[in-house]
């Protein structure tokens, strides 16, 4: 069994922010990078399924420049077999990422394709579904449980409010994996360093086409009216909270 997991090296913004001169993005100096949280769940799920199947491989694919390889290595350190980097420079929107991935995914012809539900930096929740659309793969989004069967899989989708939709999906298929589906294993730094010795195959992207949107301007969200701050020690704060609660519930 072959499971292909698409992962992303996401940018993490701290408490402070400065923008680039054209104000269309955050100054990279203010960004740290990490493997997208959702993708670690997707990788873990893939590893577990291959483990349960007793044979097969987990292949990790990411789109980006060489820095994106950190995300791949993290997954290799978790136990993935191979890593592929689809070469791309500069920012791509999720649909362009899906286009860049499409050819590579097709060429690998995996049994399952996983992506995280969304990335923590752009929160579009779109790459997986777009990729499924381009490859004409059956797909289910926001999956919280996977059970494999013959030529199909039974998966859970967790709807807003906690209702679970049980879905039967034909395989091969693409699933976008939600956090909480498992407990991703810890990749020790020793394993990460060892993964650094593994060759990550670089492939050229498919035609990425025009972006789906363009950022006009980025800015720090205006603070709302803001909360009226309750000062004082915890006991005074608690007293005020009690008063407010009683007043509002009355």
């Amino acid at each position: 069994m072959k499971v292909l997991v698409c992962v992303k090296q996401v940018a993490v913004l701290g408490d402070e922010v400065e923008f680039t001169d054209d104000e269309r993005d955050v100054d990279p100096d203010y960004l740290d990078y990490a493997l997208n949280e959702w993708d670690s769940y997707a990788t873990e799920e893939a590893l577990r399924l291959v483990d349960a199947a007793g044979e097969g491989e987990v292949v990790v694919v990411s789109v980006g420049d060489e820095d994106a390889e950190d995300a791949i290595r993290r997954c290799l350190a978790m136990g993935a077999e191979r890593g592929i980097r689809v070469e791309a420079e500069g920012p791509l929107d999720p649909i362009q990422v899906a286009r860049a991935l499409a050819e590579v995914v097709q060429a690998e012809s995996p049994d399952l394709v996983f992506t995280g539900v969304q990335s923590s930096d752009s929160v579009q929740a779109a790459t997986g579904s777009a990729l499924a659309g381009l490859l004409d793969l059956p797909s289910v989004a926001v999956v919280t449980k996977v059970e494999l069967g013959e030529g199909k899989a039974t998966v859970h989708r967790e709807l807003e409010g906690g209702l679970v939709d049980v879905v039967e999906v034909d395989t091969p298929c693409l699933l976008t994996i939600q956090t909480g589906i498992n407990e991703p294993r810890y990749a020790t730094l020793r394993a990460i360093k060892q993964a650094e010795e593994k060759e990550i195959e670089a492939r050229s992207p498919g035609e990425t086409g025009e972006p789906g949107y363009r950022v006009r301007k980025m800015f720090v969200p205006p603070k709302g009216e803001g909360a009226e701050m309750l000062d004082g020690n915890p006991s005074e704060v608690a007293q005020r909270i009690k008063e407010i609660v009683q007043e509002r519930l009355a």
Binding site: D15, D32, Y33, A34, R185, Y186, T188, L189, R190, K193
Partner: protein, 704 residues
């Protein structure tokens, strides 16, 4: 005739070892000796094979120093006496009693089997015999006295450390061990008693039979023998009893010797051996991973992953329970006792690859037995790596490195609590445990009315390695600011690394994430090496320890100072002039990584003295200081303490408050600041005592 006998014999004071025995009996005796020695040697050989079954090699080098140290520790009982002088004296009596009796037997054998028959040199008579008799009798009595004290202690006093109460449930296969230990301890004590008593009886029967006058030189035997005679037990009856007791004493003694490698007595061999090969920096300098380590090479997951020295440690343990009594985790109901950990591991080692495995005695373990599981993860995560156990162990057991190695194996398998995993991920991505942006590391300096040098850009006398807590925690930031103002006031030229600093990694290493530690250390070494400075300063004992003791493994050897040392230096050189007499009554808590790890006990106290405060020591101070509970990465893990137990930090605050009228609980460690600020509130002592960091008091004393 009988009246003359003593006088006559007095001329030739001696005795025939084999008096009254037939030739075949004497032959049998020598056969038994050979068998006994053979069993002993077999046992010792098996032990050595067991240690060789471990991974790696015994540490060698400095033979003379090591030998001197063993001799000192063994003959003075320096380690055994600590924190329980009575037990030390008891053991001293038993030890010297046993040694002298044993030496006496060896001398006798030398005379009977070599000097006399081969060299025709017979020295065992006359004055020598008399002195010999007296010596052995006195030390025999000492042995009995020591044993009696131990029996009294074990049976009547029953101190906590000698009870087999366990804070953690043992593994299923080891359920019955505590009961067996209890029986075994009594049997061991009893066997020594038996040896001593049957020996004395032998003497007494002989004296009762013949009543030689010179045997007054064996005062105990003389008294007992004459007691026998007084009740008419003498002559042939006594002689016959002597023959019976001769065999009863002799055979048991041979049996006892042959059993040494198989029983608690093995500590007589393993204890001194362990002390001899002990790493005197065990714990404060942990071992790096082997070059190119694969997952299977990491840590202790199996019994044969242990270093030979650590396998030896397991045998050296006498269950004295000093570690059990010193451990902050045990004291607060965490599922860990260092003693139980060692004993459980010993069961696995013995049942898997030791004498017990060879003899097929339960509990048995498979070859290459897994130890993660027999020792539960929560047991290993309970450890604060505070070194209290290693520090007090009279036989040099290295619990802390053993636990650390087992944690490495757990980390490699990803078996850790979610909070810890998250912290490690955070440290990996942000370089600090707070998950703060790198550039915010130097932010605490903004509230100062002067600029703090960027040591990366300008040379400075002192490179201040600030550490995570002192950089990011709001309460600790105030302390860092106070220290900066003190240094500024004293005209000290110092700089910090700003965002070039990453967490020093002392506790990352102690958690067992060695790969991440190595990464942090390498980056810090590179950052520090690029600066120009004379000495490194840190207010964080954890950073202090790893910078000082462990960074040399990564190519960074510097003179590292704790701020208490620097403050003392500045006060002594007159660059800081504290206004005398703050007049507070304070107590001081020794941070583990400063005190036990690095022996820095006095500078903070001397600084306090210079400030004119009255220092009242808590009952547990200096090397006996109780860990705050944060060490070994515990500050990043979920609570594991016993349900009804206080936290170690709360216990400590109780201890301080009980001193009465203490104004300030003084600490010299940023983690202590966090832990004890919290504990003062949660222990219900808010308003009774306040926390001060050393720098804060110094700063106060400087203010006009």
């Amino acid at each position: 005739m009988q009246d003359l006998t003593p006088g006559l014999l007095a001329e030739t004071a001696t005795r025939d070892t084999f008096a009254g025995l037939e030739t075949w009996e004497i032959v049998l005796w020598y056969v038994l000796i050979v068998i006994s020695v053979a069993i002993f040697l077999f046992g010792v050989a098996r032990l050595l094979l067991k240690y060789r079954g471990g991974r790696g090699h015994v540490r060698l080098g400095n033979y003379r120093e090591r030998a001197t140290n063993v001799a000192r520790v063994v003959f003075t009982h320096a380690w055994i006496r600590r924190r329980d002088p009575l037990a030390g004296i008891g053991h001293l009596l038993v030890f010297y009693g046993f040694m002298v009796l044993f030496a006496g037997t060896v001398i006798l054998a030398f005379q009977d089997d070599f000097a006399n028959p081969v060299l025709s040199f017979d020295f065992w008579h006359g004055w020598f015999y008399k002195i010999y008799s007296l010596f052995l009798d006195v030390f025999g009595a000492a042995l009995v006295a020591g044993l009696a004290y131990f029996a009294f202690k074990r049976g009547i006093l029953r101190p906590f450390r000698l009870q087999y109460w366990r804070p953690a449930e043992p593994a299923e296969s080891l359920r019955k061990q505590p009961r067996r230990y209890e029986i075994g301890d009594w049997v061991f004590l009893g066997s020594l008693f038996y040896l001593a008593l049957s020996g004395f009886l032998l003497e007494a029967f002989r004296i009762a039979a013949d009543n030689p006058s010179f045997e007054v030189w064996s005062p105990v035997g003389w008294l007992v023998g004459h007691g026998f005679r007084a009740i008419g037990f003498e002559g042939d009856t006594a002689a016959a009893a002597r023959i019976v007791d001769w065999w009863a004493h002799g055979v048991f003694a041979l049996f006892w010797v042959s059993s040494i490698p198989f029983t608690k007595a093995v500590h007589m061999l393993a204890g001194p051996a362990g002390v001899g090969v002990k790493d005197d920096r065990a714990g404060n300098r942990l071992a790096p991973l082997p070059e190119g380590a694969k997952a299977a090479d990491v840590g202790y997951a199996f019994i044969d992953s242990l270093l030979p020295k650590h396998l030896l440690d397991l045998d050296a343990c006498t269950k004295c329970g000093k570690c059990h009594a010193a451990c902050p985790a045990t004291a607060t109901g965490y599922p860990l006792s260092p003693r139980d950990l060692v004993l459980d591991l010993r069961e696995v080692a013995e049942g898997s690859m030791g004498n017990r495995a060879a003899l097929g005695i339960a509990p048995e373990f498979p070859e290459h037995a897994e130890i993660l599981g027999t020792i539960k993860p929560e047991t290993l995560w309970s450890c604060m790596q505070c070194m209290a156990c290693v520090e007090i162990c009279p036989v040099g057991i290295e619990h802390v490195p053993i636990i650390n190695q087992m944690r490495r194996a757990l980390v490699e398998r990803g078996e850790m609590d979610g909070q810890l995993q998250q912290t490690l991920e955070t440290i990996y991505t942000s370089g600090n445990s707070f998950g703060e942006a790198k550039r915010k590391r130097g932010r605490w300096t903004r509230d100062l009315d002067f600029d703090v040098k960027d040591a990366r850009k300008q040379p400075a006398d002192l490179l201040w390695f600030v550490g995570d807590y002192a950089s990011f925690d709001p309460r600790n930031q105030k302390i860092s600011q106070a220290l900066a103002r003190i240094l500024r006031g004293a005209g000290v030229d110092f700089g910090i690394l700003y965002d070039g600093e990453r967490t020093a990694g002392n506790d990352v290493r102690r958690v067992g994430e060695e790969g991440l530690y190595a990464d942090l250390a390498e980056e810090n070494v590179a950052a520090i090496s690029a600066c120009r400075f004379d000495r490194i300063l840190t207010s964080d004992p954890h950073s202090f320890n790893t910078l000082r003791n462990e960074y040399p493994q990564f190519g960074g050897s510097w003179d590292v100072l704790h701020h208490s040392q620097l403050l003392l230096e500045l006060i002594e050189s007159g660059r800081l002039k504290p206004r005398k007499g703050l007049g507070y009554r304070v107590t001081y808590h020794d941070p583990c990584t400063l005190g036990r790890y690095n022996g820095v006990y006095d500078p903070p106290r001397q600084v306090l003295a210079a400030l004119g405060v009255e220092l009242v020591e808590m009952p547990r101070n200096r090397d006996n200081s109780l860990c705050c509970g944060a060490g070994g990465g515990r500050i990043w893990m979920k609570e594991l303490k016993g349900e009804d137990s206080p936290r170690p930090s709360e216990l400590r605050i109780d201890e301080a408050v009980a001193l009465g009228g203490i104004d300030y609980f003084v600490v010299a460690c940023p983690k202590d600041v966090t832990m004890y600020e919290d504990a003062i509130k949660t222990s219900g002592h808010q308003g009774e005592i306040e926390l001060r960091e050393l720098s804060e008091l110094v700063y106060e004393a400087l203010a006009v």
